[in-house]
């Protein structure tokens, strides 16, 4: 036999995603910020220095500490009812992040599955699903939110449902596109020749290959979803007092823009910094997983 038996000495597994993450420069600042937001989400009120709903008209409109007359007690100032903005941002993180995670988990699973079915089976199934997606995408999200809020009432669940209904289409489209090219891979054809069923092909050959896409897309959507939640709450279609959310804080502070700029700016910065961090981590994940950039 002329075969060569020279195999690589070390039996290394392919670099798993964890080692790949370690191999590149991490976006440390973004990760620290998201970490802080996560801590706020988990502990919420218990680590807030003040009661987020504690009215104290005596200290209304205190400016943040670096401004004239600012004090350490209220580092980011207080709003029109004397509530501590720092405590409210900490408490509000929970609504923002939890609604985002819930919504993305559901939208991702539903959209991903629909996209896989649509892309793999093609033909009439694909045509119907994609028309549904088109229709869904052409309905203004806020109009849909109004209808849902009118039917079920405006609360946390409404926010999550609206986000799911709005965002699953993204997953469906992108996953379908991926599957269209994946199903033409030789190893998928070979699995059919081997006699594998559709189930095996789905879960052994297709799903693992779209996980990266799903992960990256989800991370990128965290930012969008937080902003969307804020918009809904701002418009009164989402979170209602006494719950606290960043969008609600914006709405409350809107009337005092001229005499207390910090009341609207601070939650705005919280939203911006969180979204930016999520997006940067998403970009970095995409670059890390992009096979073309993985070569060298």
């Amino acid at each position: 036999m002329t075969a060569d038996a020279t195999l690589p000495a070390a039996t290394l597994p392919p670099r798993g995603w964890i080692s790949r993450l370690r191999g590149r420069g991490l976006p440390w600042i973004s990760m620290i910020i998201l970490g802080l937001v996560a801590i706020a989400t988990i502990f919420g009120e218990s680590i807030a220095p003040h009661d987020p709903n504690g009215l104290n008209l005596g200290v209304a409109f205190r400016p943040p500490l670096w401004a004239a007359k600012g004090e350490w007690t209220y580092p980011l100032g207080t709003d029109n009812l004397g509530r501590d903005i720092f405590s409210r941002i900490i408490t509000g993180a929970r609504v923002s992040l939890v609604s985002a995670l819930y919504a993305i988990a559901f939208a991702g699973s539903i959209g991903g599955l629909v996209g896989m079915i649509s892309g793999y089976f093609g033909g009439i199934v694909d045509a119907i699903i994609m028309r549904l997606v088109d229709i869904q995408m052409s309905i203004p999200a806020l109009a849909l939110a109004l209808v849902i809020a009118a039917v079920f009432g405006a609360d946390f669940d409404t926010v999550v449902i609206v986000i799911i209904v709005t965002y699953w289409t993204w997953y469906a489209r992108i996953v379908r596109g991926e599957i269209l090219s994946l199903k033409e891979r030789d190893y998928v054809a070979l699995a059919k020749v081997a006699g594998c069923g559709t189930f095996t092909i789905f879960f052994r050959h297709l799903l693992p290959n779209i996980m990266n896409t799903l992960l990256v897309l989800s991370t990128l959507q965290v930012g969008q979803v937080i902003i969307f939640e804020a918009s809904l709450s701002f418009l009164g279609l989402g979170i209602q007092a006494p719950d606290v959310s960043w969008g609600l804080m914006l709405a409350d502070a809107r009337g005092y823009l001229t005499n207390a700029w910090w009341a609207i700016t601070m939650p705005g910065i919280a939203i911006m910094v969180t979204c930016l961090s999520a997006n940067m981590i998403g970009d970095w994940l995409r670059d890390t997983f992009d096979p073309k950039r993985r070569q060298l």
């Binding site: 075969a3 060569d4 195999l7 030789d186 081997a194 006699g195 290959n209």
Partner: protein, 321 residues
Amino acid sequence: MSLLEIRDLKKHFRVGGGLLSTAGTVKAVDGVSFAVGEGETFALVGESGCGKTTIAKMVLMLERPTSGAILFDGEDLASMGSAGVKAYRRQVQTVFQDPYASLNPRLRVRTIIAEPILAHGRPERATLRKRVEEVLDVVGLPKTAADLFPHEFSGGQRQRVAIARALALNPRCIVLDEPISALDVSIRAQILNLLADIQERFRLTYLIIAHDLALVEHFSTRVGVMYLGNMVEAGPTSEVFAHPRHPYTQALLASVPRPDPDHRPPADAIRGEIASAMAPPSGCKFHPRCPHAMPVCNTEFPGWRNLGATHAAACHLLELT
């Protein structure tokens, strides 16, 4: 009796039909018949777009024929039930061209080779392990290869893994779709010799798809030459290569650059380019490029003419003699 028989097979694809173009039909395979005997190596040869790969896909049940029949052991694939299809899949396996695309990069070699076995039953772990190691040994890879991932192998080794997988179910027939053309020159011979060895050892029947004529001459026992969806000449390889009767076969053979500095392929061996499959020429599809074209070639499709017990060609010239 022949193991695999193709009868008047056709595959038409609808293409286009978008906003700016009207739909057309590509007749990728347009009435092809041939038979492959047990233990034989039948080669389908032709240039790109001739339909040879489409035939392979239909034989592998990856595409459904538009019309015509594929018979395996005398049984029509189209009329098989799901149990019949399952049994067919056990007996017909394949090796594709690109060993980088045909192995799922996320699976270990053991899983890749075991996949066809597990698709047809639930053997004990020890049995499965033994079988995987057995086929690895057949293709000349050590046992330790089973625990590696495809990216740890070179192209030639990957193709060995692909062959091992094809052998896992002990098939009777293997469809080889350009099995060496993606490999490096010095590796090709290893793989070709391996394929020849396992054919002898397991009494396999090969249907090989290739564009390299020297390879076909070396490797196959019978050959079918295809042009734009039709078979133009078929017969025992030695006879077709020694005495090609169809002008296309002749031109093809003359065009091959040979590793011989004193043989320069004649520039006038063939003119023009292959016509579009969307709008193939009338009559004999080869006539616009044929040096011997006659008026009848433009209008009438040439019939199949026997030139001996097993050699046949489709050309009007042969009617003259």
